[in-house]
Structures are given as structure tokens and as C-alpha cells.
Symmetry: C2
Subunit: 454 residues, 2 copies
């Protein structure tokens, strides 16, 4: 019987991450401060360990994955590459549909791919404790897991409304030994300030980031960690595409299309960049490769945003980075794919998009859930709302193949399972989910406020 799951052994876990910065058509635009001067590594050292800062700035093509990190990865990696044979049959498409299934990690998503090395490098630097923020909890649970694996204390500032509405993700973090606080909290200056203004403040990612950064900056034994957007996170996620390449080699295939959801950009870059690296190296098989980033119509940073310098965070604390953005204080509609509600896209993804080397498409919420349910009924796995975006685009491409008769090989990133998102399926089945248009005026207002630098 033919395998639909292409598996690798632990010794096949990649030994190096791929860094697409080495293969960009022009050097990455440097992060700048609001006054136009370049941000320096020293400014980052209050909250990041040296190895992470070095990776963030690196233009080396290959970065070694530490052995201890690979030893943790083998708890669930290599993740399977799966042929979605039943979905192909349901669609009646001549296309071959494959997905890389990242939901096999204990935290249920691709996020531990970066959380584990971040915890490792911090422990190596003598750090005892990590702080981070989390909304829906995918990143928070990944850092909780990773911190436990390397003996670090973990403090997570969880947006208060999520803390109250999503107790199960919070419990997951606590099961792995992390301390979780509803943000705004009384533990930081920032939190106390917001609570003084409004004791009922429901919190926001911006406030939670500020609390986590404040604690990390103020304590020598404590650092901060971030789950997407930054270069080192995108590098860490390249393990997804590197494994997928080995898996395609095993069956003698190569994808024509690589598709992934795109919020901050690490799950998209993670799966697509290693294939784009082949293309940059002149690999014949990659000559016609198309990479498609899928974003929500309600938060379409690539397809509708502006390519300009903006802050990485909602509050304007970070250096400014050149990226496609809707404006850092733009607040996207409350779609269920919380991981895609980011105002911009990583510098690396943005520069490639600007150079015309990757594509982007925006899809409306209801169509993503429709695709997710069709996927679940064919392949069994119930996908996360973020992953449903990639499934939607993959199904659309497979149906286009049905029209044209082309037997394309389509790879998409199934970034996680939906076990902690069943309430969004509840709302979908109840007919109470809606689509959201691109809010032109709100975005223009937000963009108009940006300092002009670069």
C-alpha cells in the first residue's frame, strides 16, 4: 500500500537553518529608529541574547542548528509530509496536493520551531527567565513548552479577554509550568498605568508586549521572546521547508506551488524560502516555482498595504522596519485566525514581495472555514483557522488545475490543528461568522501617522 505520509527519521532533521537574506536580490533594508538613524545590536541586547541578535543581523546562508535543539525537535520532528489523496478525490482534481503537518508538535502548531532555539540560546547566555505576550495562546504555549525543556522560568502576559475566554490554552501553558498573567497586570508600570485609567481594560497585544518587554528590559536574568516577524524567527521556521524538500526527494517530486498562511510571515517564509533558495541557486526544478502568501481580506498587509518603514509592534516601541504595512495602530476586525491579525509582514517576506519574487492573495473568512471543513471531512485533521487560509488557496489552485487539466504538485503549510479553536467552528456552523471588507479609511488614517524615515 502506497504511503500517503512521507516520513523522515530523527537523523534526517536538518543540521542547518536556511537564511534567505543571503539570496536576496539586494541587501535587506536596515531597521531604523524614528529619527532615521540605524538601530544597533546593542539596543537589542537588553532583551535578546547575543546569538539571537547575531542571527537577526546575519547574511550567512546556512546557520547551524545546535545539537540540543535538534534533540528536543525529535520529540515530534521531522513532521510528516502528507499527500491529501482523499481531498484530491473529493475535488476531482488532477493536481497532487501535499501538506506539511506542523500540528504534530505538543503545542499543536509550528511555533515551537522557534520557541525551542530561542529558549536554548537564552539558557546558553545564562538567562533564567523568559517573558512573552500571547493573544490566542499559540506562541505562549510554545514558549511555555520550550522553557520547560531548558529549565527556564516563563512568564506570559496573556491579553485579558483571551485569558478569560480561552482558559484551555492558558491551562496548557500552566501544565508546562509557565506563569500566566492576565494583561494588563499589576506586575508592571505599563500594566498599572492602564489599570489606573480603566480597571476593566480588556487588554490588547500591544499592552501585553509592553508588559513583557518592560519586565525583560528591567531584569538582568530575564529576556523577551517574539514568535514571528523577526528575521531569526523566519530562519528557525525554515526547518519546515528544508524537511519538505527531503521528503519530496524521497518520492521524486518537486512542488510547482508552495502556499502558506501569512500573518507576521514566519510560517510562510518557513515553508517557502528553502524552495526559493533552490530557485535562486538556479535549480531547474524550481524554475517555475510559485510561492503564494495567503492573508485575510480583513488584514491584507501584502495585497493592500504600503511598503514603507513602520514599527514592528502596535505600540511603537520597536525599531522601524521596512515592510508592507497597514499601519502599526490599525486594529483588524476580530476574525478567528488570530495569528493573521498582524498589521505588517516580515521584512524578508515584504522585500521578496516587492521584488515580485513571491505572490500574495487575500481570502475572506467564511471561505476559509468552508475549506477547513471540507479538509477535515476528507483528511480527518481539524485545522486551525490560520491553516484554513492555506487550505482555501490550495483548493482554489487545485480547482484551477481541474479546469486546465494540469497535474500540478501543490504544497501547503498546515500550520496547526484546531483543537483549541472549536468555538470558531461553532460560530461558523451557527452562521454567525461574517466576512470583513478591507477597511480603506482606517488603514489610510493609520498610515498617515507614520514618521517618514528611510
Amino acid at each position: 500500500m502506497e504511503s500517503t505520509r512521507i516520513l523522515l527519521e530523527a537523523h534526517e532533521i536538518p543540521t542547518h537553518w536556511y537564511n534567505i537574506a543571503a539570496d536576496l536580490p539586494s541587501p535587506l533594508a536596515p531597521p531604523l529608529l524614528p529619527d532615521g538613524t540605524p538601530a544597533t545590536p546593542e539596543q537589542l541586547s537588553a532583551i535578546f541574547p547575543p546569538a539571537i541578535i547575531e542571527q537577526e543581523m546575519s547574511a550567512e546562508r546556512w546557520l547551524e542548528i545546535p545539537q540540543e535543539v535538534r534533540e528536543i525537535f525529535r520529540l515530534w520532528r521531522p513532521s510528516p509530509l502528507v499527500r491529501a489523496l482523499r481531498l484530491e478525490q473529493a475535488l476531482g482534481t488532477p493536481a497532487k496536493l501535499f501538506f506539511k503537518y506542523e500540528g504534530v508538535s505538543p503545542a499543536g502548531s509550528h511555533k515551537p520551531n522557534s520557541a525551542v532555539p530561542q529558549a536554548y540560546y537564552n539558557r546558553e547566555a545564562g538567562i533564567k527567565r523568559l517573558t512573552t505576550e500571547t493573544g490566542a495562546g499559540q506562541w505562549g504555549s510554545s514558549i511555555a513548552l520550550a522553557g520547560q525543556m531548558f529549565g527556564l522560568e516563563v512568564r506570559i502576559y496573556m491579553v485579558k479577554v483571551s485569558y478569560e475566554q480561552k482558559p484551555y490554552r492558558r491551562l496548557m501553558m500552566q501544565t508546562w509550568g509557565a506563569e500566566v498573567f492576565a494583561s494588563p497586570s499589576k506586575l508592571t508600570e505599563t500594566g498599572r498605568k492602564w489599570l489606573a485609567e480603566d480597571p476593566e481594560n480588556p487588554g490588547s497585544l500591544g499592552i501585553a508586549i509592553s508588559e513583557a518587554v518592560e519586565e525583560a528590559a528591567g531584569r538582568a536574568d530575564t529576556n523577551y521572546s517574539l514568535g514571528s516577524v523577526l528575521n531569526h524567527v523566519v530562519q528557525h521556521q525554515s526547518i519546515i521547508g528544508l524537511e519538505a524538500k527531503k521528503q519530496f526527494d524521497k518520492i521524486g517530486l518537486y512542488p510547482d506551488l508552495v502556499i502558506a498562511p501569512c500573518g507576521g510571515g514566519s510560517s510562510f517564509g518557513g515553508i517557502a524560502f528553502p524552495f526559493l533558495g533552490d530557485k535562486a541557486a538556479g535549480d531547474k526544478r524550481a524554475e517555475k516555482l510559485r510561492a503564494i502568501a495567503v492573508e485575510p481580506t480583513s488584514c491584507p498587509s501584502l495585497t493592500k498595504g504600503r511598503y514603507t518603514y513602520d514599527f514592528g509592534d502596535a505600540s511603537g516601541f520597536t525599531p522601524m522596519m521596512k515592510m508592507y504595512t497597514l499601519g502599526h495602530d490599525f486594529v483588524p476586525a476580530g476574525i478567528h485566525a488570530g495569528g493573521l491579525r498582524y498589521h505588517g509582514a516580515s521584512q524578508l517576506v515584504s522585500q521578496l514581495y516587492h521584488a515580485g519574487l513571491i505572490e500574495a492573495v487575500a481570502v475572506p473568512q467564511l471561505a476559509t472555514f468552508e475549506a477547513g471543513v471540507q479538509f477535515a471531512r476528507s483528511e480527518g485533521i481539524i485545522p486551525a483557522p490560520e491553516s484554513c487560509h492555506a487550505i482555501r488557496a490550495a483548493i482554489d489552485e487545485a480547482l484551477e488545475c481541474k479546469r486546465t487539466g494540469e497535474p500540478k504538485v501543490i504544497l501547503f503549510n498546515l500550520t496547526g490543528h484546531g483543537h483549541f479553536d472549536m468555538s470558531s467552528f461553532e460560530r461558523y456552523f451557527a452562521g454567525s461568522l461574517e466576512d470583513f471588507d478591507y477597511p480603506v479609511e482606517a488603514v489610510e488614517r493609520s498610515l498617515a501617522k507614520l514618521p517618514v524615515v528611510g
Copy 2:
């Protein structure tokens, strides 16, 4: 780097189930009606298809797994055998700890191993629709998944209190296309009768079984399916142990101990019986094999029950089977391992226990959660409360090895993940879970009421 996960390819999925009925020291005691006459296959045909009835009665050692069933299995099977290296290190034990991880199925447990063939055989028999009952929802979600895979309608009677308190498992079933009704419902005579007596009736597994059986018995196109206890379910679950044997062969090891949680008995039988089959066949490696069924102290059917004829269900509808039982109308304490709250143990498990060929141990609730949290913090995976029972016993045996210095090979069945059970971890962390003693008098009252047959 050494693999901690021992993987198999799809073509290594076993082609036959193992049936320990062929290797029992004496023939299985026949099911009897309350008047002492044997139950006949015809009496089962109102609710089961012929192939299932044949399996239920079979004494053949090997039963062929249909190709279409194996094709569904390859969506997640073979499941990994995992060396719990980090847990070994945390315990400081010379033992080698392995677990077979059944939580990789889309439904998150071992239950689809039987749901899939049951759906297949029913479709082959021209059945259009399956009914079943579910409490916490593990079996219901497995039948929903399996029904979807074979194009069957699925109707699930879910105990009303669970329907209301566990919406996410219900949503999982609905995502796979099943209809889920709170039981007692207005759809059946039984349901209407209970509702007439008390419109606020919170439901029970006994009532839900009655509703599902009533609907199946009354419609020619509808059958009923059961998720544990019966011989055919235990046979189907043998795929767990059969795969594990292949996986141990790959690394040149053989277990000294096989440990599994034991409710109805299918997850225990599923992993242990293929190894006991080796022992029965005179395999030298299995000479000293010990198989340990782990049950909750609050529902200790093997360690404290009586070996006698009792009904399989709480309401007394089924034929009587010879088994270790606490009495079919004994209501166990509300522990979180809902799958272990069964009054008896399958005939096969019971007969082997009575013959002294397997062991049993009862563990208290708090100790199981303590073990589950230690496991999660070592191996990442958050286990289901049922699985925590096996982990507890495996850790205790590993600590005994530490005392004696014996490097035993211990295999346990990690029957599922705890993603839908996080509220039980919440109560554990909050200190509001309790241990329950064995309720001697309630059991004696329940046993005293049994008709004496056999």
C-alpha cells in the same frame, strides 16, 4: 542522532488483527440471557452487521483487515512508538520507557481503530446510518470521523450534561458531519419517557445507549456501534500491539512489561494481547512478560469486582457476559477519566485475569494527574486522564527498577491526548480534585441484584 520515535511506513500497517480467543486456556464462556439460555447471533443482527457478529463469535487467531480500512488507517497509522528518554532521565531510572502514541489519530485517541472497521462493515452490509451513545465524546467523535470516511450518516446521543459542558467534543463530531443530540432526547420512546418523568433529566450513558439501540433496532437502514468491551472491538484494537511488535523488532528490543489503562478493556487488550499471543506461542522473549491493566481506585472492577455473569450495559438490555464486574447499575464517582468509569471489564480481559495470565492495579486520581503533568513536562505531550493511569503505573515500575537496578523495557499505551480535557487539569492545579475510595457497600448492593446464571 538516535531516533526516539520508531516509525513504520503505511505498507507496514498490519494486514490481520490478532484474536486472543484462539489462545485462551479454555473456551470463552458464552453470553447468556437472564434466563440462562445462550444469546444467539440472530439476536444481535437487529443492530450489528453480519461481519461484526462473526468476528464477535470468532475463535480464529487472525482476522483479515480489509484493504479499504487500511487505506483510512494510513491517514495517521502506523502510530509512533516513542522512547520516553527525557522522562527516563527525569526519573533517573535504568529502565527503558516506551509509549505507543495513539493520540495522533484525528479524533485524538485509539478509538478510531475500531470505529473505522465498524463503519466499513456496516457500509458493506448496505447500512446507511449508524447510531451510538457518547459521554465525554471520545467514542462519538471517532464514529463521526469513521462515518464520514465511508459516507454513512451518524447520529450520536450525547449525555445531556456532557453535551452542555463539553461543547468542543460535540463540535468536533459536527465538523465531521454527525448529528449530535442531547440525551434524553425527544427522538426516541426511551428519551420521551425519561423527559416526561423529569424534563431536566441530565442524562446518563445508560439512557443514551437505550436511545441509540432503540433507533438502530427500529430501522432497517440503521445499525448501532459500541466502542469497547465486546470481542470485536478488542480484536480491532490489537493493531496497537501488532504495530508495537514490529517497532520493537526494528530496534532489537522486546518489552518486559506492557501497561495500559483499563476501562472496558479494549485499549489494554489492544496493546497487550499480541504480546501475550507470543507468550502463548512459546516465544522465548515473552517468557517473563507481565501485562498490567491499570484501573481507577474509584472503579476497580478487576481488583475488587466479582467474576460473574452481568449485563454489558448499565440498563440491562444486552446479553449477560462472564466478567469481572462491580454490578451494572453501580455508578462510579465522577472522576475525570470518563473512559474508565465502566462497571466491568471485557470478557477476554476478565478470563485472562481470572486465569492469572495478566495483572491489574488500581491507582487513585490525584496520583494519575501528578504522573500526567510530569510526563507533559518531560515529553511535551499533554495526556488524556485515562492515559495518565498508564503513565502512573509505568512511572511506578520505572522507579522500582531504579531501586532494584534492573534495566527493564517498559511499554505503555498512551491512548490519547488531553486537548479536550484541559478542564480536568484546571481542577487538578486548583487543588479541587479528590481521590475516591472503593465504595464497598454500593458495589455489594449492585452485585446482590444480579440474576444468577451460568
